[in-house]
């Protein structure tokens, strides 16, 4: 009998238990700060300033109402979206073309171009902010074509070509993302069988048609990863945006930082803007966690 009992007693699977315990602790550590931001954005001022933080409370939309009705939230949202989507589109198109040339054609300077691209990819936005301000003023780049000074409805750009308009930021975010996107797409193009392109050329297609009708349609996966990472930088970046936008063209991260004031921090309104900033990246995470991991590990692990 005794042997039967020990035989039936289940061994506790310590490996599995410790794994789940670790996962749950990690989940809490990861989510708690984000939850606090969400929660604070729905709290009244008295609730925020109370000595006892409450996890469950009566939610209010007053912070959101304030930022939308008393501040220029909508133009800044438009500005952010314009810059995020514009940089992403520009990056995919130009990186796709460059990756095609590097992956499929031989020409003098090919190695040099590829290596230079990879070497300058780590230049930080702070360096750009400082030196760009310098050259816009020093060389008067903003006024290089005097007629191009333009004014659009609020939020759609106001100022000269680069200074203060969204075009300048789009240029820099695209430049910051191009090296990564070019080599990522390079890898994807390399996996497409050359025979497809050769067949198209035999059928009389020129190279542009090959690129846009044969290659690009097969690159959905590569474009997805590249788009996520470009949008992430363009939507989230703060330092360049702080220096290169004006009160009409600010992006949301700059707007959020402005709730830190001399007379204290407007936590509720700041957290409302913060919440709205993280919603698009969160949605992307829910639908494309796999692509994000692919992009993160692309440099280290050969896929």
């Amino acid at each position: 009998m005794a042997t039967a009992a020990t035989h039936h007693r289940r061994r506790i699977p310590w490996g599995t238990v410790s794994r789940y315990a670790a996962l749950i602790v990690l989940t809490l550590i990861t989510l708690a700060p984000v939850y606090v931001m969400f929660a604070t954005s729905f709290k009244e001022l008295v609730e925020i300033q109370s000595q006892v933080p409450r996890w469950i409370f009566m939610p209010t939309l007053s912070n959101y109402e304030t930022i939308i009705t008393q501040y220029r939230f909508t133009p800044y949202l438009i500005s952010s979206a314009l810059i995020g989507l514009g940089s992403t589109a520009l990056t995919l198109l130009t990186a796709g073309m460059a990756a095609f040339a590097l992956a499929r054609m031989r020409f003098p300077g090919r190695g040099l171009i590829a290596q230079t691209t990879l070497i300058i990819r780590m230049i930080p936005p702070a360096v750009l902010a400082v030196t760009v301000i310098g050259f816009w003023i020093a060389w008067g780049i903003g006024d290089i074509v005097p007629g191009i000074r333009y004014t659009l409805p609020d939020g759609l750009g106001r100022g000269n070509f680069l200074d203060g308009s969204q075009l300048g930021l789009m240029l820099f975010y695209t430049a910051l993302n191009l090296p990564f996107s070019i080599w990522l797409l390079f890898g994807f193009i390399r996996q497409i069988p050359v025979e497809l392109e050769e067949a198209a050329i035999v059928d009389g297609a020129n190279l542009l048609q090959v690129l846009f009708r044969v290659i690009f349609p097969l690159m959905g996966a590569g474009f997805a990863v590249s788009a996520i990472f470009t949008f992430r930088i363009a939507w989230n970046e703060f330092i360049l945006a702080l220096m290169l936008t004006n009160r009409f063209t600010k992006t949301l991260p700059v707007f959020a930082s402005e709730f830190i004031r001399e007379d204290g921090v407007q936590w509720g309104q700041m957290m409302a803007v913060g919440t709205l900033i993280v919603i698009p990246p969160m949605l992307i995470t829910f639908f494309a966690a796999k692509q994000i991991i692919q992009g993160v590990s692309a440099g280290a692990v050969k896929g």
Partner: protein, 303 residues
């Protein structure tokens, strides 16, 4: 593919033009401005040629060297902690668990949140008066008075030089540990199954497997993860900018923040460009080392 001699350059042109305007011209500009004494906001005609004076100043400037040391302290702790925790978790969670997709999605989230928002969230959590961290520390300290001497009481997180450094380290570890975790996990899952099986059959236990088989096989991946984190440490600015602004005193003023403040607080654009060059050179050197281990366009193409 056989093409006209100029065709490859035409495909590369848009990307190269954007890279030149967005990265190379600013870099060139940093070189040019570093020979001048020029105040931000003054007309270019007021600039004074200094020769190498800015460089002499750079090498003897205690502000720069102190901020470089601060960057090293900050970098040492975040990279060590992120590598240890990231690798540890990847080893622990290597085996597939139920719900892996959900956990994966959750752990990707911090990587997608705007750094400026991460800074704002942690600034709120660590706020001396309204912060949740201090509230729970006090509660625990009151419940178990013997813990009060061990730090379980309200702390001036962002007001004390050491604690401010701890605070920015914590926020960085919170956001970037998933990055290391994901790279290492992808690497572990890519290890050849037959080698692992052979090692198990030879009777290797978990510890020996990890230490003598898996980690050595992943040396390259670990090095790449480490280098990418080191590079990001030198680029990091936004979180520190909104959490402490470099303070109290200069206790959290990293190199990129010194660069920013020299340009826009001291308005010393010529000297700031010299610091920008220093930072760029450091990052280009790291990029070169990174290229030795991970040259994405070299493995597949024959440059």
């Amino acid at each position: 593919m056989r093409t006209n001699r100029f065709v490859p350059y035409l495909f590369l042109l848009p990307a190269l033009a954007i890279l030149a305007l967005g990265l190379l011209v600013p870099l060139y500009n940093a070189v040019m401005l570093s020979f001048y004494d020029w105040n931000f906001g003054q007309p270019w005609s007021s600039a004074r040629f200094l020769g190498l004076a800015n460089f002499e100043r750079l090498f003897t400037d205690p502000t720069v060297w102190n901020s470089l040391r601060t960057t090293f302290v900050f970098g040492f702790w975040v990279v060590t902690l992120e590598m240890l925790i990231g690798v540890g978790l990847a080893l622990l969670l290597e085996k597939a668990v139920r719900g892996a997709t959900i956990f994966r999605t959750i752990f990707v989230m911090p990587l997608m949140i705007a750094p400026v928002v991460v800074g704002l969230i942690w600034r709120y959590l660590l706020d001396a008066r309204n912060g949740i961290v201090n509230y729970y520390l006090t509660q625990i300290g009151e419940a178990f008075p013997f813990l009060q001497g061990l730090g379980f009481e309200a702390q001036a997180w962002l007001g004390d030089p050491t604690l401010a450094m701890v605070s920015i380290i914590v926020s960085d570890v919170w956001q970037w540990t998933p990055f290391v975790f994901m790279i290492v996990l992808a690497g572990l899952q890519g290890l050849p199954g037959d080698v692992m099986e052979a090692a198990y059959i030879d009777g290797a236990n978990w510890w020996r497997m990890t230490w003598h088989v898996k980690l050595p096989m992943m040396r390259n991946i670990l090095l790449i993860a480490l280098l990418m984190r080191v590079i990001d440490v030198f680029r990091a600015l936004e979180v520190i900018f909104v959490m402490t602004g470099g303070g109290p005193g200069a206790s959290t003023r990293v190199l990129s923040l010194t660069l920013f403040q020299t340009a826009f607080t001291s308005r010393d654009l010529g000297y700031a460009s010299t610091i920008a060059l220093l930072l760029s050179v450091i990052l280009i050197l790291f990029s070169l080392v990174l290229l030795l281990f991970s040259n994405p366009m070299k493995d597949r193409a024959d440059f």
